[in-house]
């Protein structure tokens, strides 16, 4: 059902009832589920240094560019050229099992080196010179979403990625708080008296409708989430907590297609090694626990995990033992039945850099989005990804 039809139908249905029934009607709409395939997005905010994540351990140019910063010890060699940062050890088995695909040199033309702007570009799937006010997941919801909880962000507020032109996902940093707020008896009384005979698309009607949706989403999430569904041990940090919540939602069978998580702090201009070691370790341990959790609940084969950062960092280290903002970077795809596991492509040349001394991109990030939409979510990318992209072969 498309969005306009949906609004029309629910308005029509609801004019027959006063609210208690209407709320019920709303809750029953989701009979046709969106399918079982789920996408989990992990955003590494701040610009993760891809070269010290997937390390060209056999390349002199790498060591020359980073006299103090190059990783020399305990690299987990994955092939003759590339290896994991030691902190990524927990992901080793995923790589060996063919459950991880690493796409190198992902970026876009005319890269922007501002965090803010580049994150915007990744979240809206725009080009570097255009400004979109809706995100790619949001536009997916515009076309295929029925409830805010069809896409959930594990945060207090919604990222641009999750906002569509007409429809938004929901943010649930703590779904119990949302539930407790929504069940305030005063709101319940207001809604039970609310007369939607004149419900239309005008603004006040929209506010009530969003309030009803919020309340019903909060209820739905709270009532359908089985906390015990996840028994796996997770590390103690905020990112792990986000993934643990996602696992609970997935294992409980919530009708949520997209989950959005984020781990920040990667803006390592100074003393990078200590900070990045710690962050990558958080990332790898949490993701590993998450995958195990899903596997135990037979949910892994229907889950795809996409990890990206808004840009990579400069090849050459700076004077403060850190790195400055760069451009192309690697993207991780984790899933069960990958078509091309391991390395999807080779690392770009370290001698043929752009004018800033950054890696040149060879894979447009929008073609990854497009491929996921088409081959994983089984929908057309039209209207979601603004420019037509070629399909990749990782799934």
């Amino acid at each position: 059902m498309d969005r306009r039809k949906f609004i029309k139908n629910s308005a029509l249905a609801s004019s027959l009832f006063f609210v208690p029934n209407f709320v019920k009607a709303f809750e029953n709409v989701a009979t046709n589920q969106l399918g079982y395939k789920r996408l989990v997005i992990v955003q590494l905010a701040g610009g993760n240094d891809g070269l010290n994540t997937i390390i060209p351990h056999n390349n002199d140019l790498y060591y020359n560019a980073r006299p103090q910063l190059a990783i020399t010890k305990d690299i987990i060699k994955l092939n003759d050229d590339l290896g994991f940062h030691p902190s990524l050890d927990p992901l080793r088995s995923l790589f060996d099992n063919g459950e991880l695909s690493i796409i190198n040199n992902v970026g876009y033309p005319n890269p922007v080196r501002s965090h803010f702007r580049s994150m915007d570009i990744w979240q809206t799937a725009s080009g570097s010179g255009e400004y979109l006010q809706s995100g790619w997941i949001g536009r997916y919801l515009d076309q295929h979403g029925e409830k805010p909880y069809n896409a959930m962000e594990m945060d207090e507020q919604l990222s641009l990625a999750m906002k569509g032109e007409y429809f938004n996902g929901i943010a649930t940093n703590d779904y119990k708080v949302l539930y407790n707020t929504a069940k305030d008896p005063y709101f319940k009384n207001v809604l039970s008296h609310y007369n939607d005979a004149h419900l239309s698309e005008h603004n006040l009607g929209y506010l009530y409708q969003t309030m009803i949706e919020a309340k019903s989403s909060a209820n739905y999430i709270f009532e359908n989430t089985n906390v015990k569904s996840s028994s796996e041990d997770y590390p103690q940090n905020n990112f792990a907590k986000q993934l643990k919540n996602v696992a609970q939602f997935i294992n409980s069978g919530l009708d949520t297609k997209v989950f959005y998580t984020s781990l920040g702090g990667f803006d390592t201009h100074a003393n990078q090694n200590k900070k990045q070691t710690q962050l990558l370790s958080q990332y790898a341990k949490s993701v590993s626990a998450f995958v195990n959790d899903l596997k135990q609940n037979n949910a892994f084969e229907n889950t795809l995990i996409l990890t990206f950062s808004e840009f990579g960092r400069r090849v050459k280290q700076n004077a403060a033992n850190g790195t400055d903002h760069g451009s192309a970077n690697n993207v991780f795809i984790i899933g069960k039945n990958l078509k091309q596991a391991g390395f999807y492509n080779n690392l770009a040349s370290l001698s043929d850099l752009d004018d800033n001394g950054d890696l040149k991109y060879s894979v447009d990030f929008r073609s990854i989005y497009s491929t996921i939409l088409k081959k994983w979510m089984n929908v057309s990318a039209k209207g979601i990804i603004p420019k037509e992209q070629k399909s990749l072969k990782f799934i």
Binding site: I170, Y186, N189, D196, N203, L207, A214
Partner: protein
């Protein structure tokens, strides 16, 4: 002028009214509107303490990276002060319309700048021209340090043109998409080459980077300067239509009315005088039509500042006010991108609606929304229990001046309180429910009203 019309006007030129303001003013529309413009004649720049930068030279920053880093950090901290000072100003200024228009222009000439001195300069430029001549305004914006940085104008050089500013100048600032060609962008970008600023943020033309050759723009050929380009753009009536539409949707009704906008554009196109345009809007009969009253969804800032017009609110910690802005989805000085906040329905999603409905009780009443119906009341024990349970758990430290509220509303009966708190119509069922509430406490009834979807409208 009726009280309802008066309140409507005050919601659009400012952040609402309270019984005090209404009693103070003349009741004739022309007088009321004229008074508003008289009050906004003066310009009071927004200035915070920026002494941390005094005496610091460009050379020092270059030679001493540690100092540069420290200054950058302080600048970001000061930006928070500027944010808070701006919100204070919105709640207190006598120059109501000037401030409201400054807020409007900040979401038109959108710019984000971490250098607090440049950010403050930019903000004051918006304030200075808020009711002035639009042509002068656009030219001033094109020379602001913050804008030269934000849209890469300072990198726009003869040998390395950067089209970012030229594109947004036409797409977002003057004409709207589809009213120019890619060639127009390229040619006009050349006219703006050499624009730059000095260390203090003053505009500097760098002649050696300026392209002196002929440019062909909108069918005209000449050695155009940036100012010439602005003049040529504004010769197109589309600019008057574009700006009038934006003003109509912000100050009148988010749903555009073609006929009214055309009337506005005719007024504006004559001389691009913003004050005249606004006067025309506020004196038009259609501005006061019922379809235009209470149809706007308040922006988070309108919501917050409006609330403090009813009950003066003091944030004991700066970070609380910043956090609240973030939760509501609008942090001043930190727009999402050059297109600005989308506004209207985009303010509201499942999260922000719940935050908005719950926030008045959290901020003003220990998170409690009373449930008194008829004569029944939750027992005092229960209330005490509730408060004890919530004590220390409240996320914000805020003092609300309920005394001021009670004295301002002394002559307003509880029954009539909703006429002041709510703009526009109340849903029939909700109105029936409100009738059942025991209104013995004006304070509690005020919170109840502020916890309604209707309170989000202005």
């Amino acid at each position: 002028m009726t009280a309802a019309e008066f309140q409507h006007l005050y919601w659009r030129i400012g952040f609402g009214s309270n019984p005090n303001t209404i009693n103070l003013l003349p009741k004739n529309r022309i007088h009321v509107v004229e008074q508003i413009f008289v009050d906004s004649q003066s310009i009071t720049p927004l200035e915070i303490d920026l002494s941390f930068m005094s005496g610091v030279t460009q050379k020092e920053l270059k030679d001493n990276p540690k100092l540069a880093q420290k200054i950058r950090r302080e600048s970001r901290e000061k930006l928070k002060n500027l944010n808070v000072a701006w919100i204070d100003r919105l709640g207190q200024s006598k120059e109501l319309l000037r401030e409201k228009m400054t807020l409007f222009w900040a979401n038109h000439f959108v710019c984000k700048e971490n250098h607090v001195i440049f950010a403050q300069m930019f903000n004051n430029t918006l304030r200075t021209h808020a009711l002035g001549n639009f042509k002068t305004f656009v030219k001033a914006i094109s020379k602001e340090a913050a804008m030269l940085k934000y849209l890469n104008g300072k990198h726009n050089r003869k040998n390395q043109p950067n089209e970012n500013f030229a594109r947004e100048l036409m797409e977002l600032f003057t004409l709207g998409e589809g009213h120019y060609s890619e060639k127009d962008i390229k040619e006009s970008a050349r006219a703006f080459t050499g624009y730059n600023h000095d260390f203090d943020g003053n505009f500097r033309m760098r002649p050696k980077h300026h392209d002196e050759d002929l440019k062909t723009f909108f069918g005209k050929t000449g050695n155009f300067s940036g100012d010439d380009i602005v003049d040529i753009i504004l010769e197109d009536k589309q600019c008057a239509i574009f700006i009038s539409t934006k003003i109509y949707r912000y100050f009148v009704n988010p749903k555009p009315n073609k006929k009214h906008i055309e009337e506005m554009a005719n007024v504006f196109f004559k001389d691009y005088n913003i004050e005249n345009l606004m006067r025309f809007v506020f004196l038009s009969d259609w501005f006061y039509d019922e379809v235009n009253i209470g149809v706007k969804i308040k922006s988070p800032i309108e919501y917050l500042v409006g609330m403090s017009h009813i009950i003066p609110i003091k944030y004991e910690r700066e970070k609380d006010l910043l956090k609240i802005q973030k939760l509501l989805g609008q942090t001043l000085l930190s727009p999402p991108n050059v297109a600005g906040w989308k506004g209207d329905k985009a303010w509201i999603d499942a999260n922000t609606i719940m935050v908005r409905l719950k926030l008045p009780s959290v901020m003003l009443n220990n998170a409690m929304i009373s449930l008194k119906e008829g004569d029944t009341d939750i027992s005092d024990d229960l209330k005490r229990n509730y408060l004890r349970k919530n004590k220390g758990k409240l996320p914000f430290r805020i003092t609300a001046a309920w005394d001021t509220f009670l004295s301002d509303f002394e002559n307003v009966s509880s029954k009539n309180l909703q006429d002041f708190i709510i703009q526009g119509s109340i849903n029939k069922g909700t109105a029936d429910y409100l009738k059942t509430l025991n209104k013995a406490s004006k304070k509690e009834y005020c919170i109840q009203l502020m916890s309604l979807p209707e309170y989000q409208m202005c």
